[in-house]
């Protein structure tokens, strides 16, 4: 395995060939915000929060899917990037109905935490306030599309880890929503009731009915271990 050297935020680092910028940054305690990325799942580069600047290129690259190369110089936290990240977060908040105060994930939400971390104090865009549904047909879990940010972690967890592929995305662009089976109710889908999707969901879109009113932290840390155990077999 070849070793590459690169610079991230002024730090001279060495890394393995084939690693992504995000992997190298995290190995070296450099924070790059992410939302659709989750350790243990494949990367899709959808949320664009991990965009970074590469010296010599005007193009911003998503750190979760961009591989490193020799002599690369990466900037992860410029004013330009901070502004882009805030706008991305504003767009996410304006797109659907995120009411933190009454959300089951209040205090445990990755979107909320990122907004705080990025210094987002106001949404300058008009809210769309779309009329979206809640599917409470499942005996254990509920999906509230008002809080979904289309990160597709649930889709990947179900397909890649559980192997059931109950979740998928229907529609295009701003009209996209996550669906179960061929857009049937979650409760009558072929769901295995494993709950991995709920643990992977960064917001309160997927939640455990029994956690209403209580703290509802999510624990997606088990995914890399599941992969590890499968590889070992």
């Amino acid at each position: 395995m070849g070793v590459k050297t690169l610079i991230i935020d002024g730090q001279e680092l060495s890394a393995r060939a084939g690693q992504t910028i995000l992997e190298v940054a995290r190995e070296n305690d450099i924070n790059i915000p992410t939302l659709c990325h989750l350790e243990g799942l494949s990367n899709v580069g959808a949320c664009r929060l991990c965009l970074v600047e590469i010296k010599g290129s005007n193009k911003l690259l998503p750190a979760c899917v961009a591989n490193i190369h020799e002599g690369m110089e990466v900037v992860t936290n410029s004013e330009r990037l901070k502004k882009h990240r805030r706008v991305i977060l504003e767009l996410l908040f304006a797109e659907r109905n995120h009411i933190c105060a009454v959300c089951v994930s209040n205090g445990h939400c990755e979107l909320q935490a990122l907004a705080q971390e990025q210094g987002l104090t106001h949404i300058n865009l008009p809210y769309r306030n779309p009329a979206l549904t809640v599917d409470a047909s499942h005996e254990r879990f509920t999906v509230d599309h008002n809080r979904c940010i289309l990160c597709m972690r649930c889709v990947r967890a179900c397909a890649e880890i559980e192997g059931a592929h109950i979740w998928d995305v229907m529609g295009r662009g701003i009209d996209s929503i996550v669906i179960t089976d061929l857009h049937e109710e979650w409760g009558s889908s072929a769901c295995t009731r494993c709950g991995k999707c709920v643990q992977c969901c960064p917001t309160g879109a997927l939640f455990d009915k029994s956690k209403i009113g209580s703290d509802h932290p999510k624990y997606p840390d088990f995914l890399p271990y599941l992969n590890l155990m499968r590889e070992a077999r």
């Binding site: 009454v102 047909s137 509920t142 029994s210 009113g213």
Partner: protein, 473 residues
């Protein structure tokens, strides 16, 4: 030429309101309306939400008494789940409700009404507030702040948040009470008792100087509604509703939450967004009634705690039958606050109060459920319908200010007739008309499930419909 006087905004209330006084061609008061001028739409936008989210959603109606909405909502949800909550959870909720009642009554009496009572209806409006009270009677100012803190701090100790706690959930509460928190509440009791008694003593000393106000502050015979226990003692969290007529005779008894819609109707008048609630068998407006501290004391035979019982006996000496002047809401509020502190002490003595079993779980077992409690301002009923997945398909909230709406309008008319003569009014008179509303301590944000702060405008309109004078604060 007739005229109309409008008070807009009415201040020191929770919410937004407006008063219009219509004068006839002789300049005499012909009619008066108390308008609530906003709509919030909580019933509508809760449609489609899972029912178990309702307590936390409904609590957002108000920052003063979120606990009332939490409890009524949770009880409606428990009717849908068809569960009985654990004994300890029920006791802790009762304590939460008492704490809120004490803090809300302290707010109403000390912060909102005592400026009128202690400094006088005609005193300088610039100092006619809690700061003026604190300057004139520092002991009472501190007692008011202390009593409010007592209630709010108990809410915080139980639910970890003073406002909009998520601790009350369908099926019970999320966390049991710890021994440390119990001991902290116990240590706060002596000061709370002293503060309530100070207020009671001060009120009794000044009450006699308000004879004229007592005469015209919504002083008329009416029906009265409130929760009551089987032993005819006062109840805030459980029990069933009783309705009595102006002579004190029982009209209807044992009204549980699910019978509420059978007997209680809501009428609409085109000048207010708050509905006018009435007893169906008597029709509207004959079936109107009052709710809140005064009606509760009119209905009950006892408070169930020794010190409050002594105060109730003193209170009831005022009249052989039900006490009619809404001015006495102030006194009733203080009797209830004393009961609240005593009741918190009694609940803490329950040997099971630290029990860890505080939550029952269940799914949707009924498609409809209702819950009712006594909020500080009066009876509160939440009624929901859900689909088989537990999503709200219909919600209706009947709040204290809706129950009192007709009586408040009649009270404004009565006091306007007394204080507006020949088409003229003085600021002192204006404040008295407002003070009638304040005696009911209405929550206008609840009653319309309304949005914003609470200014109030008073307008004087002549017979041709022209505004001849207006007072805006």
């Amino acid at each position: 030429m007739t005229q109309t006087i409008t008070i807009d905004p009415v201040t020191r209330l929770e919410g937004h309101g407006k008063i219009t006084i219509m004068l006839d061609s002789q300049g005499q008061v012909e009619d008066a309306h108390f308008h609530v001028t906003q709509v919030r739409g909580f019933e509508k936008f809760s449609e489609g939400r899972p029912f178990y989210e309702m307590p936390s959603l409904m609590a957002r109606i108000c920052g003063i008494c979120p606990v009332s909405h939490l409890l009524a909502s949770a009880k409606a949800c428990e009717a849908i789940m068809a569960v009985r909550i654990p004994h300890t959870a029920a006791q802790l909720r009762r304590m939460l409700n008492m704490a809120q009642m004490v803090q809300s009554h302290a707010l109403s009496f000390f912060h909102l009404s005592s400026p009128d009572l202690l400094l006088g209806m005609e005193s300088d409006p610039r100092t006619r507030n809690i700061f003026g009270v604190a300057a004139a009677r520092p002991d009472l100012g501190l007692a008011g702040i202390g009593l409010r803190r007592f209630g709010q701090h108990i809410i915080e100790l139980l639910g970890s948040k003073r406002i909009h706690t998520g601790w009350v959930v369908p099926g019970g509460v999320t966390e049991p009470l710890s021994a440390a928190h119990r001991d902290e509440i116990l240590s706060m009791l002596p000061e709370a008792f002293a503060n309530v008694k100070l207020a009671l003593t001060a009120y009794k000393q000044i009450a006699d100087s308000f004879k004229q106000e007592i005469e015209v502050f919504a002083n008329f015979p009416s029906n009265y509604l409130g929760l009551i226990n089987e032993d005819e003692s006062i109840e805030f969290t459980d029990g069933a509703l009783r309705l009595i007529d102006p002579t004190g005779t029982i009209i209807e008894d044992g009204m549980t939450a699910h019978r509420f819609t059978e007997v209680i109707g809501e009428a609409v008048e085109n000048y207010s967004y708050t509905k006018f609630v009435y007893y169906k068998p008597l029709g509207y407006p004959q079936g109107s009634y009052r709710v809140g501290p005064l009606p509760r004391l009119n209905i009950v035979k006892s408070m169930g705690t020794p010190q409050a019982d002594a105060e109730l006996a003193f209170f009831k000496q005022m009249s052989a039958g039900p006490i009619e002047s809404s001015f006495h809401y102030h006194h009733a509020r203080l009797v209830e606050a004393l009961y609240g502190v005593e009741n918190i002490e009694r609940i803490l003595a329950d040997p099971l109060i630290l029990d860890k079993h505080v939550r029952a779980t269940a799914g949707v077992n009924r498609l409809e459920g209702a819950g009712q409690i006594e909020a500080p301002r009066g009876t509160l009923n939440h009624h929901y319908k859900v689909d088989e997945n537990g999503k709200i398909t219909w919600a209706n909230l009947v709040v204290a200010t809706g129950h009192n709406n007709k009586a408040m309008n009649l009270g404004v008319l009565q006091s306007a007739k007394a204080y507006v003569k020949d088409g003229k009014f003085t600021p002192g008179a204006l404040n008295r008309v407002e003070a009638v509303i304040r005696a009911f301590d209405p929550c206008l944000s609840c009653s319309t499930h309304a949005f914003g702060q609470m200014p109030l405008v008073m307008t004087l309109v002549n017979a041709d419909g022209e505004v001849v004078d207006q007072l805006i604060r």
